[in-house]
Symmetry: C2
Subunit: 175 residues, 2 copies
Amino acid sequence: MAEDHEISELTPQAQNLKNRYELEVEGIDYFVRFMNLLGLPRSVGEIYGLLYFSKDPMSMDEIVKRLGMSLGSASQGLRTLRSFKAIRTTYVMGDRKDYYVAETEFRTLIGTFIKEEIMPHLDSAGQRIERMSHHMEALQDLEDKSFLQTRLKKLERLKKGAAAVLPTLVGLLKL
Amino acid sequence: MAEDHEISELTPQAQNLKNRYELEVEGIDYFVRFMNLLGLPRSVGEIYGLLYFSKDPMSMDEIVKRLGMSLGSASQGLRTLRSFKAIRTTYVMGDRKDYYVAETEFRTLIGTFIKEEIMPHLDSAGQRIERMSHHMEALQDLEDKSFLQTRLKKLERLKKGAAAVLPTLVGLLKL
DNA sequence: CAATATTTTCAGAAAAAAATGAAATTTGTC
DNA sequence: GACAAATTTCATTTTTTTCTGAAAATATTG
């Protein structure tokens, strides 16, 4: 029994490290899932999670070491995160590496995501609806034509509704 | 030149068919992209698009024939669409097949999606935050502890905000 | 309740997405 | 401006997702 204890009981310092570590792992997992919900690859979530729970700025090679991922993934992931303004670079004196910090203003982050990822889709959706309407106008069969007219109107309303609601959403998220 | 005309000019009926066809193709493409945005496979978008622009209910084998997809994909896709209440079955007299119609109330559709796909994530997110907070409380290093406390609070607020905003979103979509 | 039509399931194939790592490029330093 | 460090790119590999199709299960009709 004494032996068991020696194996399973930790010193306070060790327990502390373990807590910090588990918190970080769970935090990374949290953002992996979150980013996944937005259709972003796991590596992006891992990097953001690591940075979000790190007090100090981190360089790419540190990130690579800590997450055990390839340079390529890290570079690609950092680029994605920068494009959403989810991270920013920090100058660290006397070091030529770039250092990264997580941007924690989720509102900005989600706003950028909507603007860059969703809105373009809505624009092309609008164009597509127009082309369809054009085809619809030319139809001979009046019953079919009016059916399609109704459907297209509904699509149009969905598109307009989304275009109106999404920016509002960001405002609501003022938290 | 005369020959060219004979090849490229269509009779009104043929032009009509072509319009109807192109409208349908573009419509299907529309929903493929839309569903893709929600992380759903292309087959699901194809089926929904086909049904959305079809005046008449369609059986699975018709869908398979029209879209050139496998029975397996069709069955799986129809199941997914049913689970979101994006389609419903219709009884057609004197036929033992199931017939499907698109549900065109996007508000319901999106509502179901949020309830079934997003909300469960928010629940587990809440649990994960709790576990992390628990680890955080036990930390020795007070500076690190208070840093993490701030970060966790922010996460908590994001989660609460999302949980509050998403159902509102559905309401706003009243179109 | 047997015969047949319809739908579902699921193991394997195909396609798509993501990760790797080494070469190429860029950036910063002396 | 040459050198070295840091970063990006991209062809290839690995992993994950989606599709297929035939077999199993289910439902319907006479």
